[in-house]
């Protein structure tokens, strides 16, 4: 253990691999010194574990109805009570973590590479390519995201896949802006010029050298955006446009609980608390990551 630590914090690493592992190690140590970031990471790790082991953690089936046990208040048997069909809300919230994680992951997988590519191409080539691409990006940036997502889902039809597509369509422009800004600072650098002299193609330079340079600011931005994505997805679910019943999506669960909010408060409240905890987790982690990776922008969004 001790020698591993020594190897990781070696001032003069022998291989590129050791250097990058060592860098990650130092960042991780700095991150863990920030209590909020630590809390955030714990929440996210918890979310991933709960999603992975949902069937074993949840005491009951998320969709099995039990009309005899309708709308029971929270108790030791039903930690979060039961809903209007007698389903155990705790079990549904546990299984709902899978849906949330899926949405967040898919939106990130679609929008980040898209934005990254557009931004990197724009910043690398400059000129009219840059003007055109950034014009489109700016247009999307100055439009209301939620409304745009709503309109897209309205046209595509309700459902979780369409909700994911709609959110991804509204999420990429920020990443394009970041990638462009990063690329521009490196475009003039001797490093890129040297690579060009060695005869590397533009595609190769963008993929091998430019894109990796954007990753740290992209990771910060994506973590900070996760909360927004979760809230939008839950909002779509709440309006009946996202995940459809009987899927235990948290927003849709709140929507079902709306009818009972005055008397059976737990039906709508519990999934909301899950949303808040997970979103806060991403916010805390994102804030901490920014302080470590991107200290220039302390406190700003």
């Amino acid at each position: 253990m001790n020698s591993l630590q020594q190897w990781l914090s070696d001032e003069s690493p022998e291989t590129r691999w050791q250097a990058s592992l060592g860098r990650s190690w130092r960042l991780l140590r700095m991150l863990m010194k920030n209590p909020l970031a630590l809390l955030g990471s714990l929440i996210i790790i918890g979310l991933i574990l709960i999603a992975a082991f949902a069937p074993w953690i949840a005491p009951q089936s998320p969709i099995g109805q039990d009309l005899g046990n309708r709308l029971l208040p929270p108790s030791s048997e039903h930690l979060m009570g039961t809903d209007e069909l007698g389903r155990d809300i705790f079990s549904r919230v546990i299984h709902g973590s899978r849906i949330t994680l899926l949405i967040v992951a898919l939106v990130a997988i679609i929008s980040a590479p898209l934005g990254l590519l557009i931004g990197a191409v724009s910043g690398y080539f400059g000129g009219w390519v840059d003007k055109l691409l950034m014009g489109i990006t700016d247009v999307f940036l100055s439009m209301p995201k939620l409304i745009l997502a709503l309109a897209f889902v309205a046209a595509l039809g309700p459902g979780i896949e369409n909700a994911i597509i709609a959110i991804a369509i509204t999420a990429w422009p920020v990443y394009a802006r970041i990638a462009r800004a990063e690329t521009q600072t490196f475009r003039q650098s001797e490093f890129i010029a040297a690579t060009q002299m060695l005869g590397a193609s533009d595609t190769r330079i963008i993929v091998r050298h430019v894109l990796p340079l954007c990753t740290s600011s992209m990771i910060v931005r994506m973590t900070l955006d996760m909360a927004g994505i979760i809230l939008t997805a839950a909002g779509l679910g709440f309006l009946g446009l996202g995940a459809q019943p009987p899927l235990p999506e948290w927003g849709a669960m709140i929507s079902r609980g709306r009818t009972f909010i005055l008397d059976q408060w737990w039906v709508a409240t519990m999934p909301g608390i899950a949303i808040i905890v997970v979103s806060l987790g991403f916010c805390f982690l994102g804030d901490g990551l920014r302080d470590v990776l991107d200290p220039r922008h302390e406190g700003q969004r």
Binding site: V139, P144, L148, A227, A234, I254, C283, E298
Partner: protein, 360 residues
Amino acid sequence: MSSSPSSLPAPSGHVITPHHARWLVIVRKLLSFLFVVALTFLALLAVTFFIGRIIPIDPVLAVVGDRASNEVYEAARVAMGLDRPLPVQFFAYVGDVLSGDLGRSVSTNREVISDLARVFPATLEMATIGIIIGVLIGVPMGVFAASHQGSWVDHIIRMLALSGYAVPAFWLGLVGLALFYANLGWVAGPGRMDVYFEGLIEPVSGLLLVDSLLAGDTEVFWNAVSHIVLPALILGFFALAYIARMTRSFMLDQLSQEYITTARVKGVPGWRVLWVHAFLPIRVQLITVIGLSYAGLLEGSVMIETVFSWPGIGNYLTVALLNADMNAVLGATLVIGMVFIIINKLSDVLYGLLDPRSAR
């Protein structure tokens, strides 16, 4: 910018700008503002056109239903102009929108544009009160947090600001209703006013608080206040979170500047250092932030209005969504989008006009 006479001693680097140049700057900025706004509008129209005409597999089928005969279908297709090439269709669409024709709503059976004109003031009223709350509380909070950086108050304010990004608006609305309306009875429930007041006040401005006062009906006024308080406070919370966070970060940046030390060397009192020397330079940035969060509130009202059955544009939009009333959906999207874009770009222009340093 300057009005300096040319007799001024002008050592190295002294810029003397003629007096009329300021007006040239303003005119140039306004022109470029109009150009950018027009271009963005066109792009917004392209997006709504895309959503309305291209994504749906068959827009005709959506109108005539799937049991229509071939003749009916064809007639509808021609009537909707779908037999023409896409660019032609797009220009026709732009022309329609510019002449105020957003189509007819299937659910209300009225022109979408007149529906929107009717519901918009309700949204404006709520968002405006929300932003006022957000500014009045958020700015002092941010300033206070910055001047007490690292203290426990600062940590609490930071947490509060972060929770603005983590709490779903619709959930907060529901919980608020359950607590303050159903349980404590401090505020009135959903809607803009109690049912028996409906129709009593003739809309003049469309803003109920204003109209009821104009009509001299204080009973309706106070009833409207008790209805708007909760949703406006919730909107205000989200504005506050963003505004406080940005104010704090701007102020921290200011407080580390040399000219703040200069002010303290002069013996300027603490409140004046904070609210004049540090605050003066961030006013312009704050206007941008406030503009952005105002636009954000118009957007956020979609969720809040749905929860509070608030008869505004957000509620109109969600009802239309659930009825697959595409004309109404796209019309509402366009209007919200346009207001959003105008506020967005306007705050950019204001930035340029208000900061003496940028007027060169």
